[in-house]
């Protein structure tokens, strides 16, 4: 397996792990995370912290094992895969941001005194959307590298 493919598999596994971790944190926080902005912040902060730690540790480990760096130049096929992955990632990120803004706007407009709800929901939606965007980035690249389409 090429170094770039190893990195993509690691990225995809990290993102899958993060989805599981996020769901676990949300279940532990219960309804509080959905309606209380401080609880939502705690969930987001812990997930981001886990993401940074996992990303740094895994990438250092894989770079040491493969004796290469992630910035090593890609060949043309890997560049095409990266472009496809970035396109998918950008599409999902943009969709999530629009949905979060719409939800924020609707809640502010019609939510009455439930001010906290207007921030907690979009924040969690953004978090899940960004994780899914990164997962789709790695997944689309792997699919292109293995299937060629």
């Amino acid at each position: 397996m090429a170094y770039r493919e190893q990195v993509l598999w690691v990225d995809a596994l990290i993102m899958l792990g993060l989805i599981g971790y996020t769901v676990k944190q949300l279940i532990l926080a219960g309804n509080e995370a959905l309606f209380n902005i401080e609880q939502a912040y705690e969930v987001v902060a812990s997930v981001l912290f886990m993401a940074v730690i996992a990303y740094i540790l895994c990438h250092i480990a894989i770079a040491i094992v493969a004796n290469k760096e992630a910035e090593d130049e890609r060949d043309e096929r890997e560049q095409q895969a990266a472009q496809l992955g970035a396109y998918w990632s950008a599409t999902i990120s943009q969709t999530t941001i629009v949905l979060a803004l719409v939800q924020f706007g609707l809640t502010v407009q019609f939510g009455g005194d439930r001010g906290e709800l207007s921030l907690a929901h979009p924040l969690l939606l953004l978090l899940i959307g960004l994780i899914l965007a990164e997962l789709s980035n790695a997944g689309r690249q792997l699919y292109y590298l293995y299937r060629g389409i």
Binding site: A2, E5, D75, E76, R77, L145, G148
Partner: protein, 73 residues
């Protein structure tokens, strides 16, 4: 998406060149071994530049290495 219509003779040419490895060809061309593997398997159509480089490694004209098959051929 349409099926790849570009076939190639890279496997045969590697065999004729003292069983050149995919890694050796990849190094000579400046791509990864997985890219050579994908080209050989018909899963990836290389750029003109890479196609010419592969032909140059085998010292053959481009059309002897790559063939384009039209729908009715």
């Amino acid at each position: 998406m349409s099926k790849c219509q570009i076939s190639n003779q890279i496997r045969r040419l590697r065999f004729e060149h003292d069983e050149m490895t995919q890694q050796a060809l990849a190094t000579a061309v400046g791509v990864t071994r997985q890219t050579i593997l994908a080209i050989e398997a018909g899963r990836y159509s290389p750029s003109l530049e890479v196609a010419f480089k592969i032909a140059a490694v085998f010292q053959r004209p481009l059309e002897e290495v790559f063939q384009y098959q039209t729908e009715n051929s």
